[in-house]
Symmetry: C2
Subunit: 210 residues, 2 copies
DNA sequence: ACCATATTATGAACATCGTTCATTTCATAT
DNA sequence: ATATGAAATGAACGATGTTCATAATATGGT
């Protein structure tokens, strides 16, 4: 394969992912169809499979883009809050996460609505991207509790993320009981501050685990 | 329709839901197929649609059973912990939730993996069942903060549920980073106790909302 | 008991997916 | 210019949920 063809095929793949991203952003993951994608990109269905292995790869690669933008947003947020207390930094990150989710609803949902078929494992590069996000939580946590061993702090970071994620999911899901953004921010601040306070209190003594 | 036929059809419907429940429990929601179900129950595919409107109804009704068992577990747990502090009662309920999720993994996952097609709304009876569960959280919360207006306390109950739910989801999902049950209980206790402590501290003054 | 009518069961057919494959078209290198 | 290998095509395949003409069955009136 010559250099020119490689470039052309990369451009095609990019166009494919652009179209897929637009579709998911507009109408959600379930609206992403192979035939639509092919016609949008201007090729036959079969040609898709020379650009990607299957639809899962499309979703994963769009997810990668979303994770990249989320990472950038969290990085910016962490930088803005860098001067504050660890608790304030954690709250800032959590709120940035909530805002990102609200502003990128369908793409964000696609990140975790997507389930691989039984037996198929997440590619390493995808799993690694997800794990990398935790560093934004890990850093303020280090400041808050420098005494904790890495493993325990990582577990805490996961827990903190999960708690906030859960609040955001439920807050953004029911149109009926939709929580306005200010209310969502308030709930997040309450939870994150309470945990940060609890962690600071636990310093030196027990670790809060049972 | 005579009484005998009503009974017979109810029995068929029950057999259908039994089979569906078994299938989901064994192999997850994605393994539930109309044709499998029909052959398991011993009828033609078309006959399914005289017992239920569509597959969504099957999933919803199995979900209803799961919610019923979850409710019973939470009720029992709340009764056992009734003598403790509000914080301890909240922790007990959260742990019961985590245990139920772990012990009924596929059925529990089916509760929220299932998404209605665009536009279709949850039946009222299903939404109401879900909301009823919050009362288990609401009660200890009332003891903890009798000063809070109902609406605010309900929002808090939702937040608390979401946070714990998030932790349980992530804790039970990755086989890679699987958190052992004791670790999961530890994380839950930490978070719930921290929030309870924060709420108790907030009594009388501000409400922790921004 | 018998038949007219309404209800229910049947399973082939349909629509919609993702995916594959024989075939054609195209690009590259000699 | 032609031979060879890569890429594109779109019909076909296998699942899937759902529907429908038809057959079987149950119900109720006489």
């Amino acid at each position: 394969m010559t250099r020119a063809t490689t470039l052309r095929r990369d451009a095609q793949r990019t166009a494919l992912l652009d179209a897929a991203e637009r579709r998911i952003a507009d109408a959600g993951l379930t609206a992403l169809k192979a035939r639509d994608l092919a016609s949008e990109v201007g090729c036959a269905v079969g040609a898709l499979y020379t650009l990607v292995a299957d639809m899962d790869e499309v979703v994963l690669r769009v997810g990668s883009r979303t994770l990249g933008r989320l990472d950038a947003a969290l990085t910016a947020s962490a930088a803005s809050a860098a001067a504050g207390t660890p608790a304030a930094r954690l709250v800032a990150i959590a709120r940035t996460y909530a805002d990102f989710a609200a502003d990128n609803l369908h793409l964000w949902r696609a990140l975790f609505e997507f389930r691989l078929a039984d037996g198929r494992a997440l590619p390493d590069w995808s799993a690694e991207e997800q794990i990398r996000l935790f560093r934004h939580i890990d850093a303020p946590l280090s400041a808050l509790r420098p005494d904790l061993p890495d493993a325990e702090r990582h577990l805490l970071a996961r827990t903190l993320f999960s708690a906030v994620h859960g609040i955001v999911v439920l807050g953004l899901e029911g149109k009926l009981i939709a929580v306005p953004r200010a209310g969502l921010h308030g709930q997040i601040a309450m939870v994150v501050e309470a945990i940060a306070h609890g962690l600071a209190a636990g310093q030196g003594s027990g670790n809060g685990n049972r």
